[in-house]
C-alpha cells in the first residue's frame, strides 16, 4: 500500500525539518516548503493527501493558502498549526474550511489522531467521487433533457453519431453539459459496457499531462516509483473524453495525433508499443480555428478530432427547456434526498425562467439541489432560491449543506453562518438561534482548537460536567 503523502508548510527551517523527520518515522511520505506560494505549486504537482501549515508566514499565510487551495484542491484536508490560539482565529479557520486547528506547542498524540481522521476524510471523499461518476454514467443518457429546437437538434446528432467510432468535438459554454453529451454518446454506442474515461486537460499541469494520457513505466522520471497506466489505456475498448482539449501542449499534439491514427502508444520510459482501441470525444469552449491561426493547435489534429461536431446552446437561448429541466432536477434530488417534492410555485418558476443563467445547466442544477435541501414543503417557493434570481445581489439568506453531514457538523456550520450574517454580533446571533449567549460562547469555544479536543474527549467519556475543583498554588 502506498504511503500517505503529507506536505509541511512552515517558514522556520529547523521546525520544518524535525517535523518532517518525525512524520517520516511515523510512516508518511513527506514534502516540505517554507511559504504558501511554494506550497500551492507543490500541492498542484504532488497532490498531497494532507497539508500541515503554520498560520503566520510571510507572503502567503496559512489561511490565504487554505483559500487558494479551496479552488484548486478542495478535497485536500489542511491542518493549521498556530501559536495564536484565539477563539476568533479558530472560528475564522473553520469558516475557511480548515480541517483542524492545532495550537503550538503540538501534542504529538493528538496530531496522530488528526492525521488518521484527515486521511479517512480524504479517502471517503475519493470514494464518493468514484460513486458519483458511476451514477453519472448510468443516467447520462437520461440527462439530456429538453425539447427546444437547439436541444432537439443536439439529441438527433447524438443519436446519429453514437453507433459509429467517429471522433466528436463538442463545443459550448461552460456548464452547458458537454460531458453529459459525451456520456450519452458513449451510453448509446456499442462501447457502453467498456470504460468511459474523462480527463480535464486544463486541470492537469503541463508537466504531467503526457504521463496522465499515455502512462509511464517505473523510473521513467523522478518520482515514478511504479508503473502507471494512462487514460488512453484505461479507456481501451471504450471512450476517452478530453475536456478542454485546446489545453493540450502543442509539443504533445504530434504524439497525440500519432496515437489516434495508429491506435498504438508507448508509455513514458517504455520500450514496447501497446495497441489501443479508443473512441475520442473532445470538448472545448475555445475557438479551435482561432487556436490554429495562432499556432497553438495543430490543424491536422483538429481535423482528426473534429470528424463530427455538436454545438450546445447556452441555457438562455433555450429557455423553453427550463421548466422541464427544473422538474427533472427536482425529481432527481427529491429521490436522492428521500423527499416528496412535487415542483415549484408559479412565482419561483417565473424567477427561474427569467434569470440569465450565466453558469448554464450546472448553475441551474446547483440552485435546485440547494432548493430541494432547504424546502420543507411540497413546492419550492421563491424564498428557497438564491437572492440573485430576484435581481438582488445581496448575501444569500440560506446555508447550503451537503447530504450526509453529521448533526454536529450541521449545527456548527449553521451557527457560524448565522454569526457571519449577523456581523459577528454574538448577542444577536444567540437571540436569532434561540440559545443563550453562554451556550453560544461555549459552542464557539468548542470549535476552537482546544474546544475540538474537548469535544472528542466528551465523545469518549460522555461526562456532562466536572465538579468544582480545589486548587492550591
Amino acid at each position: 500500500m502506498a504511503k500517505a503523502r503529507i506536505l509541511i508548510v512552515d517558514d522556520e527551517e529547523n521546525t520544518r525539518e524535525v517535523f518532517a523527520e518525525l512524520l517520516e518515522r511515523w510512516g508518511y511520505e513527506v514534502a516540505q516548503t517554507s511559504d504558501g506560494h511554494a506550497a500551492l505549486k507543490l500541492a498542484a504537482e504532488q497532490h498531497p493527501d494532507v497539508i500541515i501549515s503554520d498560520l503566520v508566514m510571510p507572503r502567503l499565510d496559512g489561511l490565504a493558502l487554505v483559500r487558494a487551495l479551496r479552488e484548486e484542491q478542495p478535497d485536500t484536508p489542511v491542518v493549521i498549526i498556530t501559536g495564536k490560539g484565539s477563539i476568533d482565529a479558530a472560528v475564522e479557520a473553520v469558516r475557511e474550511g480548515v480541517f483542524d486547528f492545532v495550537e503550538k506547542p503540538l501534542d504529538p498524540a493528538r496530531l496522530k489522531v488528526i492525521l488518521t481522521r484527515a486521511l479517512e476524510k480524504k479517502e471517503t471523499l475519493h470514494e464518493m467521487q468514484v460513486l458519483r461518476r458511476r451514477v453519472g454514467q448510468v443516467d447520462a443518457a437520461m440527462g439530456l433533457v429538453g425539447s427546444s429546437p437547439p436541444m432537439r437538434r443536439a439529441m438527433e446528432l447524438v443519436e446519429k453519431v453514437a453507433p459509429s467510432k467517429a471522433s466528436v468535438v463538442i463545443t459550448g459554454q461552460s456548464g452547458t453539459g458537454k460531458e453529459m453529451v459525451a456520456r450519452a454518446i458513449h451510453q448509446l454506442s456499442p462501447r457502453r459496457d467498456k470504460p468511459f474515461i474523462a480527463i480535464n486537460c486544463s486541470a492537469i499541469p503541463a508537466t504531467l499531462i503526457e504521463s496522465e494520457l499515455f502512462g509511464h513505466e517505473r523510473g521513467a522520471f523522478t518520482g515514478a516509483d511504479q508503473r502507471r497506466l494512462g487514460a488512453w489505456e484505461l479507456a481501451d475498448g471504450g471512450t476517452l473524453f478530453l475536456d478542454e482539449v485546446g489545453e493540450i501542449p502543442i509539443e504533445l499534439q504530434a504524439k497525440f495525433l500519432r496515437v489516434i491514427e495508429e491506435e498504438k502508444l508507448r508509455r513514458l520510459g517504455g520500450k514496447s508499443e501497446i495497441s489501443v482501441d479508443v473512441r475520442v470525444i473532445s470538448a472545448t469552449n475555445r475557438d479551435l480555428k482561432e487556436e490554429i491561426k495562432t499556432q497553438r493547435f495543430r490543424e491536422d489534429l483538429y481535423f482528426r478530432l473534429n470528424v463530427f461536431h455538436i454545438n450546445l446552446a447556452p441555457l438562455r437561448e433555450r429557455r423553453d427547456d427550463i421548466p422541464v429541466l427544473v422538474q427533472h432536477f427536482i425529481d432527481k434530488f427529491s429521490r436522492e434526498g428521500g423527499k416528496k417534492l412535487q415542483g415549484v410555485s408559479p412565482r419561483a418558476m417565473k424567477l427561474l425562467c427569467d434569470y440569465a443563467w450565466p453558469g448554464n445547466i450546472r448553475e441551474l442544477r446547483n440552485t435546485l439541489e440547494r432548493a430541494v435541501i432547504l424546502c420543507g414543503v411540497e413546492l419550492i417557493e421563491a424564498e428557497h432560491l438564491p437572492s440573485e434570481l430576484a435581481g438582488g445581489g445581496g448575501e444569500s439568506a440560506y446555508v447550503k449543506l451537503p447530504y450526509g453531514l453529521p448533526m454536529r457538523e450541521i449545527e456548527k456550520e449553521y451557527i457560524l453562518a448565522t454569526l457571519t450574517r449577523l456581523k459577528n454580533n454574538k448577542a444577536r446571533t444567540a437571540q436569532a438561534l434561540g440559545i443563550s449567549e453562554k451556550t453560544l460562547y461555549n459552542k464557539l469555544f468548542r470549535y476552537s482548537g482546544r474546544g475540538m479536543q474537548e469535544e472528542r474527549d466528551d465523545q469518549r467519556s460522555k461526562s456532562v460536567s466536572q465538579p468544582a475543583k480545589a486548587n492550591n498554588v
Binding site: L22, R25, G83, P105, S436, Y441, A470, N471, N472
Partner: protein, 221 residues
Amino acid sequence: MGHPIPRIPQTSDDPSRRAADRARLLERVAAGLAHEGKNPLHNMVLHLQLMSDKLPGREPRIEKHLAALRDGIARVDALLRAFGEFASPEHLPPDLAAAAARALHLFAHEARRANVQFHSRLPEALMVRSESVALGDLVAHALVASIEFAHDGGQVNLSAEPRGPDAVLELRSQGGNAHREQALPYLDAARSLAPEAACELSIETPAAGGARLSLSFQQLR
C-alpha cells in the same frame, strides 16, 4: 510628499501621558512575546518526540529526564498562555472563573515572594455579563491587593460561585502582616474598573486585620 501626520498636543513631561505610552507599547510587546514564545516550545516538543521515538526500550532514568522536559515545556506553555490571554483578552469570553485562574497563575510568583498561600475553589467556567478586558484587569488588581493584605505568612482564600442570578468572586485575606499602603493603588484601580466591568465591588478591611473583597456580576445565561 505625503500628508503631515497630525500631532496630539501634549507636554513632554506629562508623566501620565508617558505612562500610557509605555503601557501601550508593553501591551504589544506582551502579546508578541506570548505568541513568539510558542515557536521554540513547539520546536522542543517535536525534537523531544523524535528523540523519544528513536530510543525504544530506553532506561527508566532516561524516561525520567524526558518526562521532566515534557513537564517543563507544559509549565512554560501554560504560563505563556495565561500571559497571552492577559495581554490580549479582548477575544476571550467573559468567564469569571477563567479570569481568576489566569490571575492566580500569573501572580503565583508574587505570592511566593510575599510568603502568601493561595487556596482557591473555582468552577470550570462561570460566564458573566461583563467586558473581557475590564473583567481581567479588575480580577488581577483585586488579587494583587489581596496578596498585599496577607503579606508575610498570611493566606488568600479565593472562590467563585453562582449565587442566584449573580456570580460572585470572593477573595479573603487573613493572617500575615498586611501592607495596606501597597494595597491601596490596586484597590483604587479595582474601584475605578468596577463600573466598566459591570461589577458590584465590595471591600471590607476589618480593624482586626485582613480584608474581604467581593466582586459580584450578573450571570450570563
